[in-house]
Amino acid sequence: MGINSPLTQNLMPNKTFFWFFLPTGLAMILFIGLPIISTGIQSFYAQHDQVVKEVKKCDPFGCTVSIVVDNEETTKLREAKPLGKFNGFGTYVDRNHLAIDEIKKFWNETESFGGFVDQVTNLPFYKALIFTLTYCLFVTPNVLLLGFIIALSLNAVARKIRGPLIFGTILPMIVTPLVGSLVLFWMIDSQGIIGANIQNLMNDPYLSLKSSKTLTWITIIIYGIWHHSPFAFVVFYAALQTVPQEPVEAAIIDGASRFQRIKHIVLPHIYPVVTFVALISLMDNFRVFEPIIGFSAEGSAQSLSWLIYDNLVNEEVILFGSAAATSMMTIVGIAILLAPVLIRTWKEFKTAR
């Protein structure tokens, strides 16, 4: 800080800060903070069961008692208690979420460990969790790598033609994931240009994206890399512009190879940016959901976000409780992902003081 006037010490008084920050703070508390709390509350409730009544039906051959749904009573109950019935942690441990009972059962009944893992990974929540993690695990490092290579490569071409090249490069990033995945899907579909040609090449008219789970996963992962690499590229490209020239020139004089220069001068310089990109990309990949709809891949690939979406668009009755429970567990997942960064920031903040 250049000048040590009392003003620079603490430029803005608390009261002024409050009024400046109030509108945005209110918006965030009302529409990000409260919804998280609302999700938390909803996760402890489950939708009402349908009210049933016994109906006695008599005909010349005797009387039968059958059980039918009492629609009137059900509607009344739903209107009286719209949140549903209190369920505690019931939703969290049911078959569609953590499935504690099922896992216990599998553990006791299955002979081999492999069989146990197979059965557990077929439970909806674990299936979605595994897809989400696989997606993050494959997409994030490849995005960093491809983005870095593109940045290095574009940085080496003449300045005059860089503008249009950069525009072409960032196109996959600026379209919404739904549109991006649709555009690719229409090409690799069995009736699209790439899909049809692969069928001809392999001489297998039944080969298609939907026919294999592995193929679907690979496609979505490739889509993820295609969509996110431009972001990594842009940040790395900007960072490359700030690499100091003197050490690079000294290294060239000393006879360092291109690879050595990148490894020992460029990479250490842009390291903070790499962590930034990795973090943002991890956060975005963890919420993967739209490509599953774009590729119509619901059958073989489900993510955590997709599970929530599926509960919320349920036809008969919206499964608020179930969606909320998955949401809460997704938030826990995000917290685990963010924890190392937050701890590091906090330590830096403490030492800075």
Partner: protein
């Protein structure tokens, strides 16, 4: 890096050129192909017998008598009510961008000028909010919105999108405000301006590049959003992206898949033009927070 000393070998240059061409092909071809295909009939763009039909326009010639047809566009915009969806998108985008910028500049200015401990924690909280998957927030909105009977209408969606957008806008504008020297507003304060006057007359005029960048990102978020608009708007008020998805759901109907194709092109073209125009701002925005580390 244009190093005077750094002479690249010809083979490396060739390799680099080939790599860039291949990458650009991967990045751009899908869009070019979709644009091309949107002027064909479905039997050509999604040909069961021969993908070459998409280029030779075999069925398009039979069905419409020309090599190109704009049927998909006219049908989607009229019968498919895409005009309504684009009208809604324009309303949502305009309001989200202006409200976001208004709230964001005030808040970010305050954050950048406060040296108190809480300013740091607010930024961290904003980072955590930024990480929340939108669908988890939506699952929190739906129930209260149904109860309050504000579900399905455009204003609700606008407010929600503004709020979801705030964390990123705050971080972005914060890093821009940090680059404006504090001495500038200090001198205004000494001259007897209030904080708001200093903000309005001294700081904002030099902040336009940052405001444009933040505005572009708000615009892209509002324009591209699917999660919030698909679940918080009723059929009547759907914006473009959920509308495109609704065309997919009914693709038993012969024409509807081509509606989706033409709708995708209609929705993407303005965005591409905008980004072409503001490319510099987009890139400076993406890197604003990052380059400082």
């Amino acid at each position: 890096m244009d190093y005077g000393l750094d002479r690249k070998s010809t083979s490396l240059k060739t390799f680099n050129t080939i790599f860039i061409i291949v990458w650009l092909l991967i990045a751009c071809f899908p869009f070019i192909w979709t644009f091309w295909g949107s002027f064909k009939v479905r039997a050509d763009f999604f040909s069961r017998s021969d993908w070459w039909y998409a280029i030779s326009a075999f069925n398009t010639l039979i069905e419409t008598g020309g090599k190109f047809t704009t049927d998909a566009y006219t049908q989607a915009w009229t019968e498919g009510e895409f005009w309504k969806a684009s009208k809604n998108t324009i309303i949502v985008t305009v309001f989200v961008v202006s409200i976001s910028l208004f709230l964001g500049t005030l808040g970010a200015y305050a954050l950048s000028r406060s040296t108190e401990r809480y300013a740091f924690w607010i930024l961290i909280a904003a980072l955590i909010f930024r990480a929340m998957p939108h669908i988890t927030l939506v699952s929190g909105y739906l129930f209260p919105f149904f109860q309050l009977q504000i579900w399905g209408i455009l204003p609700t969606t606008i407010v929600v999108l503004v709020a979801i957008n705030q964390p990123f806008t705050l971080w972005l504008l914060y890093s821009f405000f940090k680059t404006v020297p504090k001495e500038l507003d200090e001198s205004a304060l000494i001259d007897g301006c209030s904080y708001f006057q200093a903000f309005r007359h001294i700081i904002m005029p030099v902040m336009w590049p940052g405001v444009i960048t933040a505005g572009l990102f708000s615009l892209m978020l509002a324009y591209n959003d699917f999660t919030v608009t698909a679940l918080l708007l009723n059929q009547e008020n759907h914006t473009m992206v959920p509308k495109i998805q609704s065309y997919l759901g009914t693709n038993q109907h012969e024409g509807n898949l081509m509606w989706a194709v033409s709708a995708v092109v209609s929705a993407t073209a303005p965005l591409f033009m905008l980004v072409m125009f503001f490319q510099r701002q987009v890139i400076s925005g993406l890197t604003a927070g990052a380059v400082k580390g």
